[in-house]
Amino acid sequence: MSAKRTPRALTGDDAVGEAMRQINPDVVPAYPITPQTEIMHHFAKYVANGEVDTELICVESEHSAMSAAVGASCAGARVMTATAANGLALMWEIVYIAASTRLPIVMNVVNRALSGPINIHCDHSDSMGCRDSGWIQIYSETAQEAYEHTMMAMRIAENHDVLLPVMVCQDGFITSHSVERVDVFEDEDIKKWVGEFVPKYTLLNTDNPHTVGPLDLYDYYFEHKRQQMDAMEKAKGVIKQVFSEFEKFSGKPFDFIESYRLDDADTAIVALSSSCGTIKDVVDDLREKGQKVGLLKIRVFRPFMPEMITTALKSCKGVAILDRSASFGGFGGPIFTEVRSAFHEWKEKPHIINYIYGLGGREFTIKHAHQVFNELEEVKKGNLGIKVRSLGSRE
């Protein structure tokens, strides 16, 4: 029997604030940035009212937020934070250090376009920019998922075979500020499910002192990076296990990817986050008209699951990869390059094109999804045309 839940009307930020309240972490160092601010407003209120007994550190910058997160996590605390865009960029240096120090910090990233010019709306340039930082990345389609992913992130990060930080992403404003139905679990059930954090090492063990963050030169650095790679590899198994445990708890299945009407699909879109909801709607519409279309939603982008993705798309002749971030001077966006490369050994592989879309909060509507499926009709025949296209921008 799955755990009891109560439907509530919450925004994505509300939902994450709620998740953080239920997790009741030891330390939350944070700095305000739109559109993450609502998460912190909620959490500060919980602290002020004694609904959590977390220590909230209102630092003077995101750089210090991640720095304090590292210090607290090294001292054995369960640590969470949240940020977006330029805030993530400012903490960049320490984002890498958090991962290489193997600290199970959970950070909600409310995806927002990186400056410049300054823009407060959604795209994925912030989190995609640090896709190689050593953090696990989970992308949320809805407020519900942002809530659930946050719970699961804690368990994944703190598993001793993993000990890697996790970024839970949701789309700025589109998800973070839109009210949706979110089924919220009981506090006690979540407390039990998330459990206690048992640190492997802590600075507070003064009887058995250890040194954290030493100078690591050419004789050992590489092996430490290999250990990080191995941890990311092990994370695949742990994520799978946590997903299945959460399925038992919630009755809802989770996987690295979500295949939506892909089984016999001729053409498909690959996307992340909120756009997937829009695409599902269009898939249903076109399916009703007899068109064999589908969607592959990538939930976990780091670690990347090449075989799982290619297998899910095996019936497709034409595939469009949607990237909500640009890789200037590169061959398409980050999702495109990785998915396309995953098909390298396949003898019969789909024709794949890339769309850069939604930058700086540019709307993505059913009209755009229709346009993509339409253009895929030509692409699937091998008439690729422009391989990396813009969707929804003025020419």
């Binding site: 007994d53 750089h63 720095s67 607290a72 090294c74 054995g76 003064t206 040194t211």
Partner: protein
């Protein structure tokens, strides 16, 4: 406090590290650690000489929990560790009676310059930790570049003496006064040559509730260019020339700890031993030397005034 007793205390910064012969950093570090008389302490170091030379993996010279995160964030990092300690104690995950002190150490680059924001934020938030700046007056670890702490006229690799320019053109930032503006419980300036004064200050700093800051002068053999057996003498001269006054600020009350009075030495007595000031000995640079002296005197008068002298 006497040397005989102190010599019986365990060393928590072991020998065998790779700091230069004559380096003041381990002297100051050991004075700080000994001032704790065995109390548990977590040490954090900003990137810099002390950090890179004491923890070359797989070795460490530290026999106490130690963390390095990055260059500009030792204050924020330690504020996180100190917060974790408080919350874990509150939640009963570590014993209520287990006392742990937190010591953050940064050089002048990591404190006066790149880490100033992180430090200011940490002090403003009132974390219970001690921050010690070991001021060797330049980015010595990266090969002697000027910082905002480098004294006027000093030559560094980014403020060299050339045909037109003669060393650093700006005066040293008065960081201790900047920190005093945070109105934290304890602020002091100290020197390793006066170890009793430094250790007493460290004892006070560790004893107060809330943040404490000590700025220490840390002579650097290669950066300053003096003989490696002259470190304590360079520190003494910095104090006796009144370039580096010894004072403390307890709950906003300034107190002068040492006044050389008539024995105040001219700044040239300090400069003449150091290669970075060699050009000041030349007659054609007398104007620079005079300007430096006038500034030292002006700052000294200001400090005395703060201290009610």
């Amino acid at each position: 406090m006497n040397l005989k007793e102190l010599s019986k205390q365990e060393e928590r910064l072991e020998s065998g590290h790779r700091l230069c012969p004559g380096c003041a950093l381990p002297m100051i570090a050991r004075q700080l650690l000994h001032s704790l008389h065995g109390e548990p302490v977590v040490v954090g170091c900003a990137t810099g000489c002390l950090e890179v030379s004491t923890t070359i993996y797989p070795y460490t010279a530290w026999k106490t929990p130690w963390i390095h995160n990055a260059f500009e964030n030792v204050a924020a990092t330690m504020s996180g560790a100190e917060t974790a300690y408080r919350v874990l104690q509150k939640r009963g995950k570590i014993p209520k009676d287990k006392k742990i002190k937190f010591l953050a150490i940064g050089g002048d680059g990591g404190t006066y310059d790149i880490g100033l924001q992180s430090l200011s934020g940490t002090l403003e938030r009132g974390h219970n930790l001690v921050y010690v700046c070991m001021d060797n007056e330049a980015y010595q670890n990266t090969g002697i570049q000027r910082s905002s702490s480098t004294p006027f006229a000093a030559a560094t690799n980014t403020s060299p003496v050339g045909k037109i320019k003669k060393g650093k053109e700006q005066f040293k930032k008065d960081l201790t006064a900047v920190i005093a503006g945070h109105h934290i419980p304890y602020v002091a300036q100290a020197s390793p040559h006066n170890w009793v004064d430094l250790m007493k200050k460290a004892e006070k700093a560790f004893a107060v509730e809330g943040p404490a800051f000590i700025n220490t002068i840390s002579p650097c053999v290669p950066g300053w260019g003096y003989k490696s057996d002259q470190t304590q003498e360079m520190a003494r001269l910095a104090v006796d020339t009144c370039f580096w006054p010894l004072f403390e600020i307890e709950n906003d009350v300034w107190k002068l700890n040492y006044n050389p009075g008539d024995k105040k030495e001219p700044i040239i007595n300090w400069c003449k031993h150091q290669a970075r000031f060699r050009h000041l000995l030349k007659p054609e640079n007398k104007e620079l030397l005079d300007k430096f002296q006038a500034h030292v005197d002006e700052r000294w008068e200001w400090v005395k005034k703060q201290c009610g002298k």
